[in-house]
């Protein structure tokens, strides 16, 4: 079974040289720490920064320079700043190659819910609806089950939808799942996890890839 760092590490393997990537808040942000050697990716922050650098040293902290999670960051050589309309222009016009975001629920047809729990939690969608409506490639990083132990990989989302049929892959502590016409397709299972266990924790339609294997991270 993976911890959150393992999930991030596994997603980092999806990065390709030259990719422009938008990382959501939480586990997705950790992906930046595991960019494979020898490839260059440029991170887009929807508040208006292309080329997110590492967290600043204490004396470099700049209140005017944050990422979309409101964390202090730095620039890198070649970074640029822009306003929020241009930022979402990049996203909407399909220039961001990969979007990684968290979710509360994903359905086996690629629907995603991650912005609201009616009557309980109303934080808002931020940029998530824009991202999922336009991104070419969306990977969800999330825990396989919720705090009550119920599957978050469902046949139908029960929470308000963020976007329809948009998720391409889901990476959880249990495995890597591709969204296909037959539902969630298990491509890789995490070390120490059995396929039967994954089946027992997955409410949505699940098929097992013929060449399924234990992931190496």
């Amino acid at each position: 079974m993976l911890d959150k760092f393992g999930i991030a590490k596994r997603i980092a393997k999806e990065l390709k040289d030259g990719y422009y990537v938008n990382l959501g808040i939480g586990i997705p942000t950790l992906v930046a720490n595991y960019v494979p050697e020898g490839i260059e990716v440029i991170l887009q922050s929807e508040n208006g920064l292309l080329g997110i650098g590492p967290f600043p040293y204490e004396e470099e902290v700049d209140a005017d320079l944050i990422n979309a999670g409101k964390q202090t960051v730095t620039t890198k050589k070649g970074s640029s700043f822009f306003d929020s309309a241009m930022s979402f222009g990049m996203i909407r016009s399909g220039r961001v190659d990969l979007t990684v975001l968290g979710a509360m629920e994903v359905a086996d047809n690629g629907d995603i819910a991650n912005w609201k729990i009616p009557g309980k939690m109303v934080k808002g969608m931020g940029g998530a609806m824009d991202l999922v409506a336009s991104a070419k490639n969306i990977i969800v990083a999330m825990q396989h089950v919720n705090k009550a132990g119920e599957s978050k990989l469902l046949s139908k989302c029960s929470l308000p939808i963020t976007g329809l049929g948009c998720v391409k892959k889901v990476v959880t502590e249990l495995g890597v799942f591709e969204i296909t016409e037959e539902g969630f397709k298990l491509l890789e299972y995490a070390p120490g996890v059995t396929i039967d266990y994954i089946k027992s924790k997955t409410e949505g339609r699940l098929v097992i890839a013929d060449n399924v294997f234990e992931m190496s991270i």
């Binding site: 040293y57 209140a63 409101k70 306003d83 930022s87 909407r92 931020g126 609806m129």
Partner: protein
């Protein structure tokens, strides 16, 4: 002679009355018009509709106006950092319209570009789309979203001059230049008010034509929401 420079925030906002629709620039607490928000709290105007990406935190930014119950309605994309906001929302005291961040930005842009509406794919098939006109282009469905109408836009820039030309700094740019273009009356507070001619024409982000009032702000706190550092 252009008469845009005013003495301070209370002078700049003095004709904002109860019930006004105001845009406030910033992303989180980054690039928010701190001086003007404090002046609005002091003035005590009520029943405001605020268009702003976020709602501040409990004791800073727009959070200050929530605490004093000056806000009737918030139009935002993300309000997760403010407990008082969530309480007022869930109890029904505060009206809230949550809209996708890109839609928020582009509805500001449309207003500043003199276009009545835009089409966006964001929110199709979700609660956001309820009651909205849709249209298909090249086989994909889009929502019709209207340009914002607001009485005032209140924004924060790094440098500005008496003509209202503005330059923003780093990610504190965010919604500020868009809202600057979108207000019926635009009020800009700046960290540095420089002599006309000092800003390079090539480097100006917001041309002065969009700015009606400008003043030099003071005592910027520039609070950081999530201090993250690399240890040496």
């Amino acid at each position: 002679m252009l008469q845009k420079v005013v003495a301070n925030a209370s002078e700049a906002i003095k004709d904002i009355e109860d019930g006004a629709v105001i845009m406030l620039g910033g992303f989180g607490l980054c690039g928010i018009p701190e001086n003007s928000i404090n002046a609005l709290v002091q003035k005590g105007v009520k029943n405001l509709t605020c268009i702003s990406n976020n709602a501040g935190v409990d004791d800073f930014g727009i959070g200050l106006m929530l605490k004093t119950r000056q806000v009737k309605k918030m139009i935002s994309s993300y309000v997760g950092e403010n407990a008082e906001f969530e309480r007022q929302l869930l109890s029904g005291e505060l009206e809230v319209e949550l809209i996708p961040q890109g839609t928020l930005a582009t509805r500001c842009m449309a207003a500043g570009y003199g276009m009545p509406a835009i089409f966006t794919p964001a929110g199709v098939g979700t609660e956001v789309a309820i009651g909205k006109e849709t249209r298909e282009f090249d086989g994909k469905t889009y929502l019709l979203e209207h340009a914002f109408k607001s009485d005032f836009a209140i924004i924060k820039a790094w440098k500005g001059d008496a003509h209202g030309n503005l330059v923003f700094r780093a990610t504190s740019r965010n919604f500020n230049p868009l809202m600057a273009m979108a207000g019926k009356i635009t009020i800009a507070e700046v960290e540095e008010l420089v002599p006309v001619g000092e800003l390079e024409p090539d480097m100006i982000h917001t041309p002065g034509i969009y700015v009606n009032r400008i003043f030099k702000g003071t005592d910027y706190e520039k609070r950081i929401e999530q201090l993250t550092v690399t240890k040496r």
